[in-house]
Structures are given as C-alpha cells and as structure tokens.
C-alpha cells in the first residue's frame, strides 16, 4: 500500500538540503514536508477523517430531508432514487439522519479526545518527570482508573443522569478514558528524563515546567497524537454503543440513535437492512480512518512495523527473520 508513494518521493528529495540551511521554514513548507513523509495509511485515514469533519460542519444544511420527518407509513422503505439510503419505519430519511447525526458523534469524539489526552499528558509527564512519591501516587491513581470497568460504570452513571446531554457524556467518557494514555506517556517521559539534553537543561537551571513544555513534550508529540486518535476511536465506539442501548439524549441525532431506532423497530427481523447497514458502515468507516491514522503514526515512529509491501519493493524474496530490519532510504532521509 505504502509502496506506491515511496519511490516517487525520490524526486522531491533534493528539496530537503535547501531547506536545511535556515531553521525558520515557512509554516506551509513544514506542513508539506510532513505530509510527504506520512505513510500512505495515515494519508488515507486523514483524508477520510477530514471528510467526516466537513460533513459534521455542513451536514445539517445538505441533508435533503428533515431527519425527524414522519409519514403515515408503517414499514421501512427500501432505498429509492427519492430516499437514497431508504427510510425508517416512520418514514424518516436515513441519509438525512446520518448527515445530521455526524455532527454530534464527531464533536463528542473530538471533545473527549482533547479532554482525555490533556489529562493523560498532565498526569503522565508529571509522574514521569517528578518521580518519587508523586510518581507512586499518580501511577496508583491511573492504575485504579485503568481497571475500573468503563462501559458498565458509564451505563450506571448515565443511567442516573436522565436525558444526558453531549457534555456530561464527554466528561464521563474522558474521566474513564485517560488512564491508558497517561501510562504510555509516563513511560516515555521516564526514558527521556535522563537523556543528555534534559540533564543539560536542568543543569542550566531551567524550571521544571519549562523543561516539561519545551524539552519533553515536543519529543513525545507522536505518542500524544497516537493517544489522542486512540481516545477519539474509543469515544466514538463507546458513545455509539451507549446510544444504541438507549442511554442517550434523543433530542439530537447521532449515529447511535439511528441504530437504536433500527433495533427497537426490529429492522433485522423485518429485513430492512438499509436501516442499520448504512449507519453501521458510516461508524465503521470513521473507526477505520482512525485506525489507519494510528497505523501510520506507528510506522512513522517504528520503521520495523512498516507494511509488508515495502519489503517486496526491496526485492528481498528470502528475507530471514534474523536479518537486520530493512529500512527504506527515503523514509529515513525524510525523517531527518
């Protein structure tokens, strides 16, 4: 998959030395340099995710019907040229429901991602950098949150909060979803803490917060991004599952609501596949784009994981496991 892109990049390689001379490249240059280094998987993932964000913004305006519209019909209507993705049992247009529902699901995912990742970064770097009793305490704290069963607790808490809005759901999801990221970031901070450049900064007398913000965080940006993407995926899947169970705010459409109505309208038994297949696929493609982005970030930071396709490109038919890891030159140079 990534193969197609790699050899083409050779042509753009001479651009690198030019930029090397002066550190202050323009913002757009840096963005395009970063883009050309991204594995294909990440590019595909980011493209799909951008599409969802676009729909989240303009969805309610381009929806052909009012998602709440009801007709007197009693059976779901199969896809026609009029209703491209069919209708629900009460005549609501499934396409319009998906277009309108994108906003709530995407916002919930992103907000949860931001809150939970912020918590992970704060707890993880503080525990890793400060060490000692602070580390013991914070690690204990995050371990406890790691083993508390999230979905049942969410069901119980949100069951007590009737007519839950988006924000309480996002807050509860973040409160239960930050611990894993904090552990990973703490481990990385521990390994960075004793590197020379951090020791030098400490020797110069930099304050701890300055070292954390300017020395440690920039070196973990990949890890933080991966943690963010993972949390968004968790938030999207969990919130859709919760809505599917009927623990949601029905005044706003989201993907889970559509599936909830399909399930409670016994779409499966009626054979009304369009009623649950289209919204389900919409969630699956969104999840897929996030997984692809994370695969891409992984490959960016660990060349060993790069997809099998690049190996074949190297023409090494009889690659033995013990051979040194083949790394494609362009990737390495691009990363410098």
């Amino acid at each position: 998959m990534a193969v197609g892109q790699v050899p083409i990049d050779v042509g753009s390689a001479p651009a690198e030395p030019l930029a090397k001379g002066h550190r202050t490249r323009s913002f757009m240059d840096r963005v395009s340099a970063f883009r050309s280094r991204l594995p294909l998987k990440a590019k595909v993932g980011i493209t799909i995710l951008s599409l969802y964000i676009l729909v989240a913004i303009i969805g309610p305006w381009i929806a052909p019907f009012d998602p709440n519209a009801t007709t007197t019909q009693a059976i779901p209507e199969a896809p026609t040229i009029h209703h491209l993705l069919g209708t629900s049992a009460t005549g609501g247009d499934v396409l319009s429901q998906i277009l309108v529902g994108t906003r709530a699901t995407v916002i919930l995912g992103l907000v949860t991602g931001v809150i939970a990742t912020t918590l992970s970064v704060l707890v993880g770097t503080a525990a890793g950098y400060l060490g000692g009793y602070v580390d013991e305490g914070l690690s204990l704290f995050s371990n406890v949150f790691l083993v508390l069963p999230a979905l049942p607790l969410l069901v119980v808490i949100l069951g007590y909060l009737p007519h839950t809005g988006e924000l309480p759901t996002a807050i509860v999801l973040s409160a239960l979803g930050w611990a894993w990221g904090a552990r990973v970031i703490r481990a990385q901070t521990l390994s960075l803490r004793n590197r020379d450049f951090v020791l030098a900064a400490r020797e110069v007398g930099e304050r701890p917060w300055r070292i954390i913000v300017y020395e440690l965080l920039p070196n973990q940006i990949g890890l933080i991004a991966a943690s963010f993407v993972g949390t968004v995926l968790y938030a999207v899947l969990t919130s859709v599952a919760l809505a599917f169970l009927g623990i949601t705010n029905f005044s706003d459409w989201n993907y889970g609501d559509i599936l909830y109505w399909a399930q409670s309208g016994s779409a499966v038994n009626l054979g009304a596949w369009w009623w649950y297949v289209f919204p389900g696929l919409t969630v699956a493609v969104l999840g897929m784009s996030l997984v692809l982005i994370n695969f891409g970030l992984d490959e960016l930071s660990n060349p060993r994981l790069r997809s099998s396709g690049s190996l074949r490109k190297l023409g090494r038919r009889n690659w033995r496991p013990a051979d040194p890891t083949p790394v494609i030159r362009d990737y390495v140079e691009g990363a410098r």
Partner: protein, 327 residues
C-alpha cells in the same frame, strides 16, 4: 519487596475506589433513588417504607459517615440488598444465576480469541510480507467496527437468511435447564453466534500486538545465534522468539479475562443472552439501583482478581518482571 508493597497498595486502592464509587453514585446523582424505587409500590405506610429502605440496602438515615460504614459492612458480608425490580429476590441470588452464563460464553470466546490471535500473530511476524501478514489489517479493521453492528449483520445472515443457527436467549424455550443432552446442545448452539462475533472483533488486537512485539524480538542477536546453530525454524520461532515475545500478550490476556464480565454488555443485549450484562441493562432501565450497584461491584472484583492473576502469571513467566508490574 517494594514491588509487592506497590501492588498491595494498588489492590487496596482499587477495591476502595470501586466500593466508594458504588456508595457515592446514588447519593450524588440528581434524583432520589429511594423514591423512584419505592414508587413501584402503592399506598405505603411510613413503617413499611422504612422497612423496605433497609431491605433494599439504602440506609439513608444517619450521617454520611455512618451510612458509609454500614455500606462497607454490607459489602464485606456480601449483603447486596434486595432487587427492586424482581422483589423479593436477593441481588446476590440474581448475580449467582446470571454469572455462569457470561463466564461460560465470553470466557471461552476470549480464550479462543487469545490463543488463535497470538498464534496467527507469531506466524505473521515470522513470514513477514507473507499472505497472513498482508491480510492482517483486515482483522484489525474489524475492531474499529461497532460490535453490535457486526452482531446484527451476523444475525441477519446466519440466523434469519440462512437459518443455520438460532439466536436470542441462552437456550431454546421449553427445554428444562439441567444436565441433559437436550439442554446442553441447545445452550451450545445458542452460544455459537455470540462467540463468533466476540472472536471476530477481538482477534485482531491479539494478532497485531503479537506481530509487533515478535518483529522486534526476532531481530535480536540471540535469534540469529539460534539460527546459526542450525536449530529448526519451528524451534526458533516458538521456543526462542514467541516465548519471549508473548509476555505483553499474557499481561493483556489476564486483563481481558477481567473484562469478560464487563465486556459482554452489548453482546448480551443484542442476543438477549441471560448473562450479567443483560441483567445490568435491565436494572438500569427499570431503575433497580441495588441490582445495578451489586453487578458493578462484582464486575470490579472480577477485574481485580484477573489483574492479580496477571501479576502472578507475569512474575512466573518473566524473571525480569518480578520487579515491575504486569501492566
């Protein structure tokens, strides 16, 4: 022995957190749990209300501290109160009836998923660039699919269209539960579809983690030495490579076992499987707070015992890890 002290602190803290959350939720949340539970009963005298409150385990009299101590006392004696939706059955009785279903089905599915996934991950890493390695992303993408969506598709295809497998409930209605062939075969055929969906959505994670760790492991020098000695490929792959690469997977597996009780929530609701998850859902929809709290407590305890097992298994399988925690 700092390691043991740290782990002990972790267990104590987690048990404390689980019980305290359980205690606080009905008291902090808006809405009066007692009133909503009692609203099912009509025309109650104050004495009856008081008696019912005590029976349900609400104990709203006294300061918060005495309530808290009373709650701990109940938990220690496993006195979880009486279910309000299935009055007068005790919460512990209901949990005792539903837990075997969940553990049986989801436990077996998790073990199978772990074993198959780990094995496939080993092979995918060993034959890097081979067929398995190239189709692996497809398995991982299944994980990004909402679980119940996959379940609905499978129900539609295998139960409704093809009619190969039954779905819904744990066994065919009319069969009397017991150690009879009719009941056991019925229970097994009813569990195939849910088990398949669990395996399909979880196997990718085991494969990916195993492959990634294995790739790092097999590029180490001792693997090269083992190959240079002329050991068979299979021996190098399993005894030298996989033996060392499997450690993170073992740690993950023990945690996954803990989440067996919790993770089945959505599955049990989609398949109306008579396990703990469905019971929790019914408790939530019928405002049965004692049952809700009891199930959450049992789930937390299950996760904790699994992480204890993880610690032990990890310490046994990796001498280096005796100084660290398993996860």
């Amino acid at each position: 022995m700092a390691f043991i002290a740290r782990r002990l602190a972790f267990y104590v803290a987690t048990i404390w957190a689980a019980v305290t959350i359980n205690f606080l939720i009905p008291r902090v949340m808006p809405g009066n749990a007692v009133a909503s539970a009692l609203s099912k009963f009509q025309n109650l005298t104050p004495q009856v209300v008081k008696a019912l409150e005590i029976e349900f385990g609400f104990h709203t009299k006294g300061s918060l501290l005495t309530q808290y101590l009373q709650y701990w006392n109940n938990v220690v004696h496993f006195n979880l109160g009486v279910s309000t939706s299935e009055y007068p059955t005790h919460v512990s009785t209901i949990i005792g009836q539903t837990l075997p279903w969940t553990i049986g089905l989801v436990g077996v599915a998790t073990v199978l998923s772990f074993a198959i996934g780990t094995l496939l991950g080993v092979v995918a890493a060993w034959r890097r660039g081979g067929l398995l390695d190239r189709v692996m992303p497809a398995f991982t993408l299944l994980q990004a699919t909402p679980y119940f969506f996959l379940a609905l598709l499978m129900i539609y295809l295998f139960a409704l269209k093809l009619g190969w497998l039954p779905y819904g409930q744990g066994y065919t209605l009319g069969v009397v539960p017991g150690f009879t062939w009719a009941f056991i075969s019925s229970a097994i055929t009813h569990s195939i579809l849910p088990a398949l969906t669990i395996i399909a959505t979880s196997i990718g994670g085991w494969m990916l983690q195993m492959r990634n760790v294995m790739l790092t492991t097999i590029s180490e020098d001792y693997i090269l030495v083992a190959q240079a000695k002329g050991l068979s490929s299979r021996r190098v792959m399993f005894t030298y490579g996989a033996r060392n690469a499997v450690l993170p997977n073992i740690a993950g597996f023990a945690l996954a076992l803990g989440f067996v009780v919790a993770g089945a929530l959505v599955m049990e609701i989609v398949f109306s499987y008579p396990g703990v998850g469905l019971t929790l859902y019914n408790a939530v929809t019928s405002n049965d707070y004692p049952l809700m709290q009891g199930i959450f407590l049992v789930i937390s305890l299950a996760v904790l015992s699994a992480s204890l097992l993880a610690d032990i298994a990890y310490a046994l399988s990796d001498p280096r890890a005796r100084r660290r925690s398993a996860f």
